[in-house]
């Protein structure tokens, strides 16, 4: 199998699995227990918290572990809105956010919160000036992702956070696709809340984290025990958390060299695709992007049909995002970038990773060219 869907998920790396294993059986304790086995779990939990915090230049008590990136997004949006008790009732976000943010915003709207969804330009970037112009005295939170999951386009986070800070508004960023691919320092970027996830960086599924800057007002959305300093009730998943910390450390360690390697592979791949396949376009080509992501549109063919041809040859890629698979609507990200519904429907995402080789990509270009030629032959719109 040639796996080119690392933005959907990644395999757990051997070192990560090794770091997790002790916590299933011999060190199975509850981190809230008084007894020795509980203290062992507690120590592991706090060590992991410190490791994750160090990767983003935060302090350990600013990290709240959650059950997923989606939960962290929910906690940031709902938690901040709740903390203001409806005194401030306006949230600013973008049209290209992950559904974890967009659907949560829809739900907040039903609870009487006003939501502004900013457009993006044809490169897929949010304009900080538009953020500035959208703010009102009632704005409680700005939530703009660090890097888009479909295009890899990096958003101007530092500029947006400066605007937020100057107006005393909290700034949240979903950094699930940026973390481990580009440096994300909460101080350099001026971030108040940031969503992270383990399974995009060779860690386990079912564990995420929310960075919450000290002093930021945020109410819990899960109530129960006093875990995570009252910000997220529920017994901590120590095995997953230990795996997350190990994955974050490894990602941090290899970030610089991997970024150079992947960007070179990705850029050569895109060049080859555009040369060999007529009417191919690279989405977000002129914007800064995370190094592993390539979003390609091919006129007159359906993305899922291309995927099936690739799949039959053992190549795993994805249309827009894995979450959108099975939904008939074309990608909201491509539509926001100005693609027609048909061009949006013809988009494929290739996301490279640690094991991706030049040979994998050479083979993929060939299969891709054949698939598109075949589909265009039967296409009613070619």
């Amino acid at each position: 199998m040639i796996y080119l869907d690392h933005n959907a998920t990644t395999p757990v790396s051997p070192q990560v699995l090794q770091a997790m294993m002790p916590f299933f059986q011999e060190r199975f304790g509850n981190a809230s227990s008084f007894c020795r086995i509980g203290r062992i779990a507690r120590t592991a939990l706090e060590e992991a918290r410190a490791s994750v915090a160090a990767c983003i230049h935060a302090s350990p008590d600013e990290i709240v572990f959650t059950g997923s990136g989606t939960e962290a997004d929910n906690l940031a949006l709902r938690g901040v809105c709740r903390a203001f008790h409806g005194r401030k009732r306006h949230v600013v976000t973008s049209a290209i956010e992950h559904h974890a943010v967009l659907k949560t915003c829809e739900d907040l709207e039903e609870q009487g919160i006003a939501v502004t969804r900013l457009p993006v330009d044809c490169r897929g970037m949010v304009d900080p000036d538009q953020v500035k112009n959208s703010l009102t005295p009632h704005t409680v939170l700005i939530s703009i992702m660090a890097a888009n999951n479909e295009t890899g386009v990096i958003q101007p986070i530092a500029s947006i956070s400066r605007i937020a800070r100057s107006r005393g508004i909290l700034f949240h960023t979903d950094a699930v696709q940026a973390f481990g691919k580009i440096p994300v320092s909460v101080d350099d970027l001026g971030i108040d809340l940031m969503t992270l996830s383990a399974h995009k960086i060779y860690g386990p599924k079912g564990i995420g984290a929310l960075y919450v800057r000290k002093g930021s007002a945020m109410a819990p959305i899960l109530t129960g025990g006093s875990h995570e300093r009252g910000k997220r009730a529920g017994t901590e998943n120590i095995a997953a958390i230990a795996g997350f910390a190990q994955a974050a450390e490894l990602a941090e360690k290899h970030l610089a060299e991997e970024a150079v390697r992947l960007a070179a592979l990705r850029d050569a791949f895109e060049k080859e695709v555009v040369q060999r396949i007529a009417r191919a376009r690279v989405n977000g080509r002129d914007a800064p992007r995370v190094p592993n992501t390539s979003s390609l549109s091919f006129a007159s063919v359906d993305g899922e049909s291309v995927l099936l041809h690739l799949d039959l040859k053992g190549i795993c890629a994805s249309t827009g995002s894995a979450c959108a698979t099975g939904s008939p609507e074309p990608s909201h990200v491509m539509r926001a970038m100005g693609l027609s519904p048909m061009d949006a429907q013809s988009t494929i995402r290739f996301s490279l990773g640690r094991d991706t080789s030049q040979g994998d990509l050479d083979f993929t270009v060939g299969v891709l060219a054949d698939a598109i030629s075949k589909l265009r032959h039967i296409s009613s719109t070619a």
Binding site: E304, S305, H309, L312, S327, P330, P341, H377, S379, S380
Partner: protein, 162 residues
């Protein structure tokens, strides 16, 4: 006792299966081999010149952007040739292909009775969230038959007027 399999016809199913398609049990999650066969080797792909075809339809599903063009040739009330082109997901392509296989050789009355359920059953089922794709082939077929009938009616009226 092992089930005897008849010769496979153009639809990729044995003739015995074709006559007595069983209802699908349980939810279908993925494309099966018959769907993939019709997707990778779609039958009756192509276009027909206005002189060859006497019925044509262009249909689209605005919900997902799928589109299908269908041409039919009707001689003595029977579909003697049928061609299609489709833009869409594997489900749309496979159901388009299967619909043309099932319509070929049928009388207009028989073809008009085909439903999208017939097409889905003939394919051995398609995933639940792809059911709307299966409408395309049958919709195009019915519209092409209407187009043929309308064309003949106009021709007859033209004859009456002359």
């Amino acid at each position: 006792m092992a089930k005897e399999r008849g010769d496979r016809d153009d639809t990729g199913m044995s003739s015995a299966e074709n006559e007595k398609a069983q209802p699908i049990q349980g939810p279908v999650l993925f494309y099966n081999d018959t769907v993939i066969d019709h997707f990778t080797n779609p039958r009756n792909v192509g276009e027909m010149e206005p002189g060859e075809a006497n019925g044509y339809a262009l249909v689209g599903d605005p919900a997902c952007g799928d589109q299908m063009k269908l041409w039919i040739r009707v001689d003595s009330g029977r579909i003697t040739d049928i061609r299609f082109k489709s833009f869409g997901c594997p489900g749309a392509i496979a159901t388009s292909s299967m619909a043309t296989c099932m319509a070929r050789g049928k009388t207009l009355e028989e073809a008009a009775e085909l439903t999208d359920d017939d097409v889905v059953r003939a394919l051995g089922g398609i995933p639940e969230d792809k059911k709307h794709c299966s409408l395309l082939g049958i919709m195009a077929l019915q519209k092409a038959i209407d187009d043929y009938l309308l064309g003949r009616m106009c021709a007859e009226e033209g004859d009456d007027l002359s």
